[in-house]
């Protein structure tokens, strides 16, 4: 059975509201997007959706060892096992709760599917003026074979609050897993939020991750995406600036090999004046890997004095790796400074020669240069543990025994 048939038989067995039914009907009529669809031009879903998945099943119980093995070691953890929320931390000023069925109108097929059928996820409410020093770690474990899971998460941050998150999705089964993940963050006035995504799942895991961020005035939001693992990763990162003086920062590092595919779609909607956005995505492609980048910056008519910067740099390090990049600027205001840059190239031969002539092996020399290339985006992460993990994973991926942290 294919995914769409799995979904059909699953949805027949459950009761959903009439609104959701409508969404489902339109989804089944429309089906999944194809490469004819501009948003999916470079990423084919064909293989992904032709596989057979099990929906809504629970696997064996998670052991503490599983958790500690995959945790970054933070004390405050939110843990999910096959969709079920199994633990939440206790922090003053923050309310943690289970899935809440919040609304979000969208034309995106995967979000519609998520709206219609998701019944797992978390809700976090941060009270105004709460400043949290500790990092909140969110772990999503998949235990069932060939599972298809959907999460729908909401984070509401009160005015003047500051908070940091680290998120990881981990497949513990030996077979495939497919997660359709959606997170919405509402940033109150003068908030400061950092959200780190570590996408280092097993070789046959698939992920479609959509994150919608709504910012009020004077808020700063930083999203860091680190892609090392998984066979298929699609990130849709959308910012909507609804107040003046907002800052949206995005950093992304993808280091891929074998047949991995990573597709990063970002969209910043500058709706109000005096805002900034900074975007830096770095990609390193080895083996038969494929990278896609689509960065869109929209400046609305009355959003004057906007500074929007975007850069996408890529290293193609193997014969069969490919990259498709599409930076986009749509600008309807005149008093703005917007730029995008995109480069695709290789490691500098002279620099490699310089290092090799000083006794550094080719693999190590390449790794050092690659790290230097990616470090610009890694440097912007404020959490030391995440930064160290990124460095460790990079060394592992490049097959060298080097410690980049010193």
């Amino acid at each position: 059975m294919s995914l769409i048939e799995n979904l059909k038989s699953y949805s027949e067995g459950i009761n959903v509201s009439s609104d959701k039914k409508k969404l489902l009907t339109s989804f089944f009529e429309k089906g999944f997007p194809t490469i004819q669809d501009e948003e999916w031009k470079y990423t084919s879903l064909k293989k992904l959706i032709s596989e057979d998945y099990s929906i809504g099943k629970n696997g064996s119980i998670l052991s503490d060892l599983d958790i500690s093995n995959h945790s970054l070691g933070f004390e405050n953890k939110i843990v999910f096992s096959d969709g079920k929320l199994i633990s939440t931390p206790k922090i003053k000023g923050i309310t943690f709760s289970d899935f809440s069925d919040f609304e979000c109108s969208t034309a995106d097929t995967f979000l519609q599917l998520n709206s219609a059928l998701a019944n797992n996820g978390f809700t976090i409410k941060v009270d105004s003026n709460t400043i949290v020093d500790e990092v909140i770690e969110i772990l999503f474990f998949t235990n069932t074979e060939n599972s298809f899971n959907q999460y729908r998460n909401q984070i509401i941050i009160g005015d003047n609050a500051e908070i940091k998150f680290v998120e990881k999705i981990q497949n513990l089964s030996n077979s495939t897993s497919f997660v359709n993940h959606f997170t919405q963050i509402d940033c109150g006035k003068n908030t400061n939020v950092e959200y780190n995504k570590i996408q280092n799942n097993t070789e046959n895991s698939k992920l479609i991750d959509t994150m919608n961020i709504f910012q009020k005035e004077d808020s700063t939001c930083n999203i860091n995406t680190l892609i090392f693992g998984g066979s298929f990763t699609r990130n849709n990162l959308n910012f909507e600036q609804n107040g003046s003086n907002c800052e949206s920062n995005m950093n992304g590092v993808s280091i891929l090999d074998k047949n991995q595919l990573a597709d990063n779609h970002t969209f910043v909607d500058h709706k109000q004046p005096h805002c900034t956005s900074n975007e830096m995505y770095k990609g390193v492609y080895l083996g038969n890997s494929k990278g896609v980048f689509n960065g869109k910056i929209m400046v609305r008519q009355d959003a004057q004095k906007i500074d929007a910067f975007q850069s996408n740099n890529n290293l193609l390090l193997s014969e069969n790796s490919t990259i498709d990049s599409k930076p986009q600027l749509e600008i309807y205001a005149d008093d703005v400074k917007c730029s995008h840059g995109c480069t695709i190239g290789q490691l500098d031969e002279d620099a490699l020669f310089y290092m090799r002539s000083r006794g550094i092996g080719i693999t190590e020399a390449k790794a050092v240069l690659t790290y230097a290339f990616a470090s610009e985006a890694i440097e912007n992460i404020s959490i030391l543990e995440v930064k160290l993990l990124a460095q460790k994973l990079l060394a592992k991926k490049l097959n060298v025994d080097l410690d980049f942290s010193v």
Partner: protein
């Protein structure tokens, strides 16, 4: 910014929107026009009127059949009322079909028109050193310097003459770069094109003068569908210019042209366009729909360079492209696109790298004023076999006024790991500090803007042949007179 200054700026902007299109006159020339509408019969009539051989009619009919099955593209970031293709006159020719011995025999009315447009069709005027082919409505009316070029073996004539006189060349190359089912507009053009220019440069010949085609829509309700085919044999070199104007009319006139360039081994083609079709009035009424397919193919060591200055048309849909098929071939694209009032432009280029060591450069400068929208849409594709390819792209946009928009849609697809691609784009307005600097030194605001805009476009204007560079600069001044961002 002080309130007063903003006010003067608004006045200045007001002035821009009222800047008039000076080529908007119509000329009273008797013409032979067929009824409106498109059908297989119309295609047959056009072919018959031009006394074409059977294979040409076949070509047109296959294109027509393909067109019937195609849909008008909607992906471009422009909005317009789609033309009713049954409401267009597909063939209109000046009655006096000039089988001229010399240009002195030309209809005086027509001559007057070209004097008004400032185009020299006087062969005696050696100073200009430009051979001109003039296409009015659908038909080529005059070609100058034909004999002088003939001595070198260069064929420069209208495409209808070429079909009659050099069928082997036309048959060999027509539709090889832009196949008839390439897109909606190229299919339409292939079916109904009535004339255009044909140019053939023999092996090793360096064309001694600029070749030029001047396009003019005169008749009301007609569409202009011209076809240009330019073949540069091995080791030859040519510089080709094209200019266009149209009368002011309240209706939207359709222009769907196809240009094909073939640069064989070691050949060098430079193709420059100054496009100044009627852009419509300040309220966005009327104007020409400019839907053009331009593409060139480069064989070994060949080079194609597109330069365009786009100031006219209500809607522009145009992507001059290069297929870099041969090793070491070079493609270049230099563009200035100016939009004002309610104009919309979706323009850019495609660079398809197939051969090894191929290089391409893209410099696109957009200027948007009034309530217009300018788009850059480009594709750089590096195929797997295109080892050591290199691309550099730069797209800058300048915004003047807070109601205009400027957008960039670059597509970059790389399948080869020894290639280097750089792309950068910026959007900004003319800095207040830049203007202040000029004002401080006694340069008035308007002159300062002209200065800054000229500097901004310099990279592109420098690529134009001298005669055209002057015209382009003047056009820029007219289009943007007094606008402050």
């Amino acid at each position: 910014m002080s309130e007063k200054k903003r006010q003067t700026e608004e006045e200045l902007l007001e002035k821009v929107t009222s800047a008039e299109y000076k080529y908007g006159f119509t000329t009273d020339i008797e013409s032979d026009t067929i009824p409106k509408g498109l059908s297989e019969d119309v295609v047959r009539i056009i072919s018959a009127k031009k006394n074409e051989p059977e294979w040409m009619l076949e070509y047109r009919l296959t294109a027509y059949k393909a067109w019937l099955e195609m849909k008008e593209p909607e992906w471009a970031n422009v909005t317009y009322d789609k033309p009713n293709y049954q409401d267009v006159i597909y063939y209109s020719a000046p009655k006096q079909k000039p089988v001229l011995d010399s240009l002195d025999d030309l209809d005086p009315e027509m001559k007057k028109m070209f004097d008004k447009l400032g185009i020299s069709i006087d062969e005696q005027n050696k100073l200009a050193n430009v051979a001109v082919d003039i296409v009015m409505d659908s038909v080529s009316v005059a070609t100058s310097f034909k004999e002088k070029l003939g001595d070198l073996g260069i064929i420069f004539c209208s495409i209808s003459d070429a079909i009659q006189e050099h069928p082997e060349l036309v048959k060999k190359y027509l539709g090889t770069v832009v196949p008839h089912r390439d897109n909606f507009f190229s299919a339409l053009n292939s079916a109904v094109f009535s004339d255009g220019s044909f140019c053939y440069i023999p092996k090793g010949v360096k064309c001694p003068m600029e070749l030029s085609t001047y396009f003019r829509i005169n008749e009301a309700g007609t569409g202009q569908f011209e076809r240009t085919l330019l073949i540069a044999e091995e080791g030859s070199q040519v510089s080709y210019l094209e200019g266009c104007t149209a009368p002011m009319r309240d209706e939207n006139q359709l222009h769907a042209a196809v240009v094909e360039l073939i640069a064989l081994d070691n050949a060098d083609i430079k193709y420059s366009t100054v496009q100044n079709w009627y852009p419509g009035n300040a309220e966005g009424v009327g104007g020409v729909f400019n839907f053009v397919t331009k593409r060139g193919i480069c064989y070994k060591n060949a080079k194609i360079s597109w330069t365009q200055v786009e100031t006219g048309s209500a809607v522009t849909w145009k992507y001059p492209s290069c297929i870099l098929k041969g090793d070491n071939s070079i493609g270049e694209f230099f563009s200035v696109a100016v939009t004002n009032n309610f104009q919309q432009a979706d323009t850019g280029t495609k660079m398809i790298h197939l051969g090894k060591n191929t290089k391409s450069t893209i410099i696109a400068k957009g200027i948007s004023a009034g309530e217009s929208n300018g788009n850059y849409r480009g594709l750089v594709r590096i195929a797997k076999g295109a080892t050591n390819s290199r691309n550099f792209s730069q797209c800058d946009s300048l915004l003047m006024g807070d109601k205009c928009g400027s957008h960039t849609f670059p597509y970059i697809e790389v399948k080869n790991n020894s290639s280097k691609i750089e792309h950068e784009a910026t959007t900004s307005k003319i800095g207040e500090d830049q203007l202040f600097y000029c004002n401080q030194r006694g340069i008035g605001t308007e002159e300062a803007i002209a200065l800054i805009v000229n500097g901004y476009c310099k990279d592109v204007l420098n690529q134009l042949p001298m005669e055209f560079a002057v015209e382009a600069q003047k056009l820029l001044e007219i289009s943007l007179e007094g606008s402050v961002g």
